[in-house]
Every structure is written in structure tokens, then in C-alpha cells.
């Protein structure tokens, strides 16, 4: 056994993360190809595939972006193989152009779109919903309610995809993907698969014709049949074993839920001890809803409480069916987001569900005495230090933003940075000296900067800069840079090249010399690409603060066209730097100016590397040698030369 998830002993149980359970389900379904773009909380899926890819004859890749990942997986499906593509919720937006077309052309071999949403935006810039895409592009949506189901539903989804000859979307959430539970394994099929793309048959023949999405003025030819597929899915969902009801025949309150909320609801009902008063309808097939199953369950109670995260998607779809069947099911009182019992922003937890249930069912329930709550809040405020989000010790981004901030301040023309997606989103915060002034989607910093750069004719005099990481460059910034160079938009793109997709765990990207399976790959040279595109390219080491700042000021004053400054320095947690200190850093306490005129704690108050701490008694700075990464940058910002660095022999 090379890895837990390909344990071939049927019936054995393993503790798996939700993401691993999804991978195991796909293995049991005989998957052949998996592609994705890294993004929390989805990244473990491709990584798990890569570990067992050779043994299980699987092709796995980190694609350049989510749209390409979906295309790579679709190609496998078109050639008769089973495949999946995986991404976080924001990635579905990137893939959505192809997604609409793919849903229209349909698929051959079973194909899944696995999306891992992030309610509460724990590791995202927003908590955008991917569920609505299923309705928008008319494909089935499945949501596992526990870890066993994450495996079983995934396997089931491949069969469903092949039955309806279309893509099936499986949606997980952070608490499903990253939490763990026991999963009982099924058997693994053999790994023989043969790919062939057939296209000689008639146009629009799902089995033998070319796979095309083209309905020019004839929607009945393709859109109509696609909708029939969805109807077929709804029929199959009527008997789906993953839709379950638990509770009295006619409960006081019918709770309808899905996904991780199933766990919250179960816990809340258990804690309130109301198993005899409420029934739980847990749905795994949330689009399209199986109408008869919903109707049958709606008849159980006059009161319905829908528990789901973020938007009232399930709630509204249930309400439509309730309205359509009102004569048979009767008038209902609905509780959920529209009634205000459940918030539409942020992730849920058992407490929120408990609070809603106590209001709906008029239950007096106090988990803790209010005085206890007050006491703990007070203690937390005094005992837990306030911590701002910041970069890791030795992070090249801290040094980069230090120089960018100072260059803009010295330039004095109110310049600004358009941000992008990566660890460097923290450039918006004091940890990144609040340097970044726009932040949206992957690649949009460069696009916005390209636009700002063209506003000179309307009197804008502010220098425009953008930051983007190396992985983001390939993902979505290249078209924006192309636009800027073509239109001679005078902005400076600062490429924060830290040699990998750092934020999500060092996944390789097109600039890496190896792929996710460890094979050698063609490493694309960012510098050569930018030069070939026609940009003026400079390279600096962000740890060289003076050189970087001077180069930035020079480029900001250089009027013509798009300029690229590649700030090259590996991430402090990257395999090449992790645990290897370049410098031993120490503080000479006798010359540390500390809080006095001449310093006012620049290192601990402004620079903010967690590797430097403030000794409140001696009033001097200290290096926390345990977490110091030995980059030595702080020695260069210290105005007194009190922070000293010595090259590690």
C-alpha cells in the first residue's frame, strides 16, 4: 500500500479527510484523468491523485487555470475515459465559459466537476456560491452530507454522468473537505482503460459524432435534449439512496438540509433533545430537486426549516415546489434565510442552528450561563494577544511590499498598487504596509492597472503599479499584460516570483521544471515571455531593499508602456528555503535605539516580521531564533545597525 486511499482491502475502514474520500470514491469508480488548479479547500484532491497516479494508471495535472483543467478533463471524457476536474468556488467562475459549452455538448465517459466552496471565506477573498452554476448551466448537483457519503456519492456520480451523458457537479465545503471521518472502503476496479476519440458519426450524435456546442438558431437540437438529461437526473434522484429522512412520521417541524449543514443539524437536534419533535430530510441531490420526494416530505409537516450556507438556493427551490404542490401539500410556514432565522453570509455551525431552533420551537435553552460567557470574553481580551494577519518570517513579500511602499511614498505622486490573488493579498493590510489598493480576482490587478494606465487623457497623474505572483501570471495575468503592452499602457507590473504556487502548498505551475506527478516538465521562463511580449523587463532580489526601491522609482518615472519588474526570491516555506537559514540574525542590545527618537521600534512596530520580538522589560528588540528564517532583511532596515546578520557557514 503506497498510500491510505488506494488500500485495496474491501470493507476496511480508514479515517479520511472529505477530500480524500472524494478521491477514494473516484478510484472505486475507475477514474483515469484528474485535473485542477490549486485553491483552498480543494487542493488535496489533485495531490492525493498524484501520489497514487502511477500505481493506478491515472493521469493527474495541475493545469494553468481552472478553465484549462476542465478542458483537460473533458478531453478524457470525450475519449471515453472517466475524469474529474477540481477547483475552489472562485475557480468555477474562471471555468464557467467552457462549463456552459460543455454542459451543452454533453460528455461521454463519466465526468465530474468537483468544487470545494468556502462558506465564511476562511481561505478565500469571498464566499461566492458555486451551486448556482448547476442551475445556470443545467447540470445535476450533488452534495455529500458526511465523509462516507463523500466517497459513495462520488462513485455514484460517475454512473449518473454516464447515464445522462453529461457533466455532474459535486460540491463540497471547507468543513467537509478538510474535516475527517471514518470511511468504509469498497473494491477498486482494474486499471485498464483505452482512450479513443470518435467523431465520424452524425453531428450531435452523443456516442459517435464530433463533440460540439453549437445550436445556432436551433435550440431544439441541443438545448432541448440537454434539458431532457436534467429531467432524467431528477427521476433518478427520486430513488437516490443518499436522500434520507429521519424522524417521526409527522413532525412538528421538517428540517431540510444538505452538505456539512447535515452535521450541524444532527448535532443541534441531539443537543436540544428534540428528536421526537423534528424530522430531518437530508438531500444529496440538490439540483434538480426530485419533485415527488420533496412533495412526499412536505406533506409531513406544516412548518419547514431549510438549513444551508450562504445563499437561500435550496430554500428557494423548495419553495417553488411547495407552491406548485400547495393544493396537495398545504400552506407551509417556512423558516430559513428569508425569515431571518439563518444568516445569508458566513458559515453556519451548530450554535446558529440551535439558536434558530429555539426560536422556532420556543425552547428555553442556555448552553452556558451569561455570566460565564461574560467572564470568558473578558479573560480572552486580556490573555490572548491581538495578532494581525501578516507574512511568515523570511517571506519575500514583506520585503517586496516594504520597497514598493517606500518607492510610492518617495515618488510623491500618490501612486497605488492593484493587487491580485495569492499570499500577497495581505498587501492590503498593515502587514503589507497597506500598499495594495484594489483586490479582485486572479489576474485582475494587471487588467485594472492596464485600464488605470490609459486614464492619462483624463488627467490622472498617479503612477500605476500591479502585483501578481508567478502562478497567477500564467493563470490569468498574461492576457492583461498583453493588453497593456499592446495599448502602451504605462504601468509597472511587479511579478512576485517565489518559485511556486506558494499559498496553496507549492504546487508546480508552468514555470516549474516538474509536474505534480514528479515528472520533468518544460519550465516556461517568465522573463523571456515578458520580453517576447514586448515589455521592458527588469529583475531584482527583493531582499536587496535599496536596489529594489531604486529600480521601482526608476520604472515609475519611466513614462512609456508596460514595465515588468520580476522580484525573484523563493518562499520561506518552499522546499529550497525551508529550515535553511542564510544568516544567523541577532540584536546587539547595547545599540538598539528601541522606543527612543531615531527608531521608535521600526522593526517590531512597522516592519512586523514575527521573527522579531520586543522585550518589554529591557526595551530592546530580540530575534526569536526558533522562527527566524534567516533572511537578514531586518538587519538592513535597522537604523542603528543593532540587528546584525552573520552568514551561516
Amino acid at each position: 500500500m503506497s498510500y491510505l486511499i488506494d488500500d485495496n482491502r474491501e470493507g476496511i475502514q480508514h479515517l479520511l479527510m472529505g477530500n480524500e474520500a472524494i478521491v477514494r470514491g473516484a478510484l472505486e469508480a475507475g477514474i483515469n484523468v484528474a485535473a485542477g488548479y490549486p485553491g483552498t479547500p480543494s487542493s488535496e484532491i489533485i495531490e492525493a491523485f498524484s501520489k497514487i497516479a502511477r500505481d493506478r494508471n491515472i493521469y493527474a495535472e495541475w493545469s494553468t487555470n481552472e478553465k484549462v483543467a476542465m478542458e483537460v478533463a473533458a478531453a478524457a471524457s470525450f475519449a471515453g475515459l472517466r475524469s474529474l476536474c477540481v477547483m475552489k468556488q472562485n475557480g468555477v467562475n474562471v471555468a464557467s465559459d467552457f462549463l456552459l459549452h460543455l454542459a451543452s455538448s454533453g460528455t461521454r465517459g463519466g465526468m465530474l466537476l468537483v468544487t470545494c466552496d468556502d462558506p465564511g471565506a476562511l481561505s478565500s477573498v469571498n464566499e461566492g456560491e458555486s451551486r448556482l452554476f448547476a442551475k445556470l448551466v443545467e447540470i445535476p448537483l450533488l452534495e455529500p452530507g458526511d465523509f462516507q457519503e463523500a466517497k459513495d456519492l462520488t462513485k455514484w456520480a460517475f454512473d449518473l454522468s454516464e447515464k445522462i451523458r453529461n457533466l455532474v457537479m459535486i460540491r463540497s465545503v471547507t468543513r467537509m473537505s478538510h474535516a475527517s471521518g471514518n470511511v468504509k472502503f469498497g473494491s477498486l476496479p482494474d486499471t485498464n482503460a483505452h482512450a479513443e476519440y470518435r467523431f465520424d458519426g452524425p453531428l450531435l450524435d452523443m456516442e459517435t459524432g464530433p463533440m460540439i456546442s453549437m445550436i445556432v438558431a436551433a435550440p431544439e437540437l441541443q438545448h432541448g435534449p440537454q434539458q431532457e438529461k436534467l429531467k432524467k437526473a431528477a427521476q433518478l434522484f427520486e430513488d437516490c439512496p443518499f436522500n434520507t429522512y429521519n424522524g417521526p412520521e409527522s413532525p412538528e417541524l421538517l428540517i431540510i438540509t444538505s452538505s456539512a449543514c447535515t452535521l450541524y443539524v444532527r448535532e443541534a437536534v441531539n443537543l436540544l433533545n428534540i428528536e421526537d419533535r423534528v424530522g430531518i430530510l437530508k438531500l444529496a441531490t440538490t439540483w434538480p430537486l426530485p419533485p415527488n420526494l420533496i412533495k412526499r416530505n412536505l406533506m409531513r409537516s406544516k412548518a419547514v426549516f431549510v438549513v444551508e450556507e450562504v445563499l437561500p438556493t435550496l430554500e428557494e427551490n423548495i419553495k417553488i415546489l411547495a407552491a406548485e404542490t400547495a393544493l396537495e401539500t398545504g400552506i407551509k410556514t417556512f423558516y430559513g434565510k428569508h425569515s431571518g432565522h439563518i444568516p445569508s453570509a458566513g458559515e453556519l455551525n451548530p450554535d446558529i442552528v440551535i439558536s434558530a431552533l429555539t426560536k422556532i420551537l420556543h425552547i428555553d435553552y442556555r448552553p452556558v450561563e451569561p455570566s460565564f460567557e461574560q467572564k470568558t470574553a473578558k479573560m480572552a481580551a486580556t490573555m490572548a494577544p491581538t495578532r494581525e494577519m501578516t507574512f511568515c518570517p523570511g517571506c519575500p513579500h514583506r520585503a517586496s511590499f516594504w520597497s514598493i511602499h517606500n518607492a510610492i511614498a518617495l515618488d510623491g505622486r500618490n501612486g497605488f498598487v492593484c493587487g491580485d490573488i495569492g499570499c500577497y493579498v495581505m498587501g492590503t493590510l498593515p502587514g503589507g504596509y497597506s500598499t495594495v489598493k484594489t483586490l479582485h480576482s486572479m489576474g485582475s490587478g494587471s487588467g485594472l492597472a492596464s485600464g488605470f494606465g490609459k486614464l492619462k487623457q483624463f488627467g490622472i497623474e498617479q503612477p500605476v503599479l500591479a502585483v501578481c505572483g508567478d502562478s497567477t501570471f500564467f493563470h490569468a495575468a498574461m492576457p492583461a499584460l498583453t493588453n497593456a503592452i499592446h495599448h502602451k499602457s504605462p504601468f509597472t507590473l511587479i511579478l512576485l516570483d517565489n518559485s511556486g504556487t506558494a499559498m496553496t502548498g507549492f504546487q508546480p505551475h508552468p514555470g516549474s521544471p516538474f509536474d505534480v506527478m514528479g515528472n520533468t516538465a518544460e519550465a516556461l521562463d517568465i522573463e523571456a515571455i515578458c520580453r517576447a511580449m514586448g515589455g521592458r523587463v527588469e529583475i531584482a532580489d527583493p531582499f536587496n531593499l535599496t536596489e529594489t526601491r531604486e529600480m521601482l522609482n526608476y520604472l515609475m518615472e519611466y513614462k512609456d508602456g508596460a514595465k515588468v519588474l520580476i522580484l525573484r526570491q523563493a518562499c520561506a516555506l518552499s522546499p529550497e528555503r525551508r529550515g535553511k537559514k542564510k544568516f544567523d540574525v541577532s540584536v546587539d542590545e547595547s545599540i538598539c535605539i528601541g522606543e527612543n527618537c531615531g527608531c521608535d521600534r521600526l522593526c517590531t512596530r512597522i516592519f512586523g516580521c514575527p521573527g522579531i520580538t520586543w522585550d518589554t522589560e529591557k526595551k530592546v528588540s530580540r530575534i526569536d531564533t526558533i522562527i527566524c528564517a534567516g533572511c537578514g532583511v531586518c538587519a538592513d532596515i535597522c537604523p542603528a545597525g543593532a540587528i546584525q546578520k552573520k552568514e551561516v557557514a
Partner: protein
Amino acid sequence: MQRFGSRELVENVIRQNLCIGCGACNNLCPYFKSYNGKTTMLFPCTLPEGRCFAYCPKTEVDLDELSAALFHKPYGDDPLGYYRSIMMSRAGARAGHGLFQAGGTVSALMQFALEKRHIDGAILTDRKGIEPTPILATESKDILKCASSKYTAAPTLAALNRAIKEGFGNLGIVSTPCQTLAVAQMRLNPLQENTFRDPTGLVIGIFCTWALDFQAFKVFLSQRIDLAEIRKIDIPPPPAEVMEVFTDCATIEYPLSEIRQLVPEACSYCIDMTAEFSDISVGVMEGRTDMNTLITRTDRGQRIVDEAVSAGYLVLTDLPDENLEHLKWAADNKKKRAFAKAEEKAIVNTPAGTGPSYLRINHATLKKIRGE
């Protein structure tokens, strides 16, 4: 002297367009930096009192306190400040020769002071292209490279603060009146630091009626010629009323009326034409392009002038009365205009707690300056 910190410095000086970019607040700490002639605060500092504020020549300048420290009298009403003598001067035969403005007196005195170890280094203003660049000169030949006027405001005192940090304790400084004022404030040890000692050995002030805003001047020139081609810039004495810009192949003249548009607002509040708080002040000589006007103010200034004359570095002659009168008239005009403007802005003797005060001065002298 009222002492505040960086917050008030930014509020009272930088935001009020009073900052001339002298560099007095640079290199004391990591927060104030000069770039392209502009002084910027990079990050906030929380200290209620700082040297940055105390040294700044554009806020809470107590003229009486400075005068008492340097000349043992309250600030008086002579437009040229306190002095021991005024003469005409030029570089002597022993001094090296450079691209002097007028008589080369400043270079000659600094060379002498450095060569005879009256000072261990000289803080001067060199240039890179057209950008004035402060330097620390520790050899005589470096002094000659810095000869001739720069016409633009320069953060010269940034180099002074750096040199002090590096351990220099007996420095010569060539400074404009605003810079000279800042140096005088530094010498008072305003924050009463235990380890303080006067870092100056010789302060030579240079006459100034205005300086140009470097950024504005750079834009002005770059719109008209290739900056890389400029070899020298000069303003010939009246009645020429032009600025001459020399390139390899031509001399281009710009009317002073156009050039004066580039003078920053900060200069219009300056009351000092002759660098009244220096040891020695030097300026051009009306009608004599080969000579300077030399004002000797302090004992150590007098000693160095005397020795430089005996050693052949400097040649002195008497200043004609009409020149002295004209100099006083010009200095008085500048002072009157600036006081009127500052009083209009309500930044002279502003009562504590009611707003920032640029200057504090005894009422008797102020009345005389006003002509009351």
C-alpha cells in the same frame, strides 16, 4: 523652544507647503526621506517629541534663543544679523581652483579648514546631472568638485546627519540660510541628549534670495532640453535677468521671470538672506564677478578667516559702503516681505496651544522690522 514630534512636523510644515527639503530631518531615523527634492514621511512615528521637529527651520524657530546661544544677545534688527566684520574676498593663491561662482571664497575656506584639520570632513552639495546631491568630503579635491551654485533646494543636511551617525564630530558645513538655521538649532541640543556634543567645526552660510523646487525645475527643463546634455547652469549678476543653461553645443537663456515661477512657496516665508546663524556667510558681490562678500560672525569664524588669509588661501579687501548699504537694503526687503507674509498666515509668535508658530521673536525687534 516648543518641542513636538513628527506628527506636528508633517502637519505644520509638510502639509502647509513650508518644507523646503533642507534634509535636517533626514537620516535621524528611518522615517523621513528625501527624494526628487521632496521630503516624505514613510511611516508614522509615535513619539511626542523628536529631533526632526526640533531641527526643522520652518516650525517653532525661536530666534531669540538661537541668538542668545550664538551671539549672547536677543535677536536684533540688523538685516544682516550679528557680525564682526564685512569684507570683500576671493580665493588666494594657495587654494585650488575650480568652477567657482564669483571669488571662490567658500571653496577656499573649506579647503583651508579641512587641510589644517579645523574640521574632519565637509558637508557640501554636489550634483548628479541636475540633481543636487549632498556629500561628505574628506579630501580637498572633493571640495572643488562641489564649487558653484546649484540654484535648487537640496537635502544637504541629510549628509550631515549621516556623517554624525558615522562618528564625525567636527564637521564643516556649507549651507543655505534655511539649512544654517537648522544647524543652529541642532547645536542647541534641543532634546537635551546626554551624549550630545556640537558636531560642527565651521558653518559657512551662503546668501540666498530663493531656491528652485527641484522637481518643478526638472520638469521645466525636461520639457525644453535633454537633461543629459546639461553641463552647467548659471545666473549672471544683474541686470542680466536670465538663467543660462550650458550644453555641449549651445547656451540657452531662460528669462528669470519664468524661472521664478518655480520657486516653492516655502521660500517666500524665509526672513534670512545672509545665513545669520553661521560662523561665516558668503555671497556674490554686486558688480564684481571675481569677488565675494564675506560676513564674519563668530569668534571661530574670525579665527579661521584670519588664519586662511595668513596662509594664503584667502584674500580680503574692504567692502565699499554703497555695496554694504545695498546688501542691507536687499536683506531688509526680504525680511520685511517674509514677516508680513508669515504674520498674514498667523504663524509668528502664535500663542502656545492655539496653533503652530513658525517663528518666535521678541516684540521690540519685530516692531522695528515692521517699521513701527
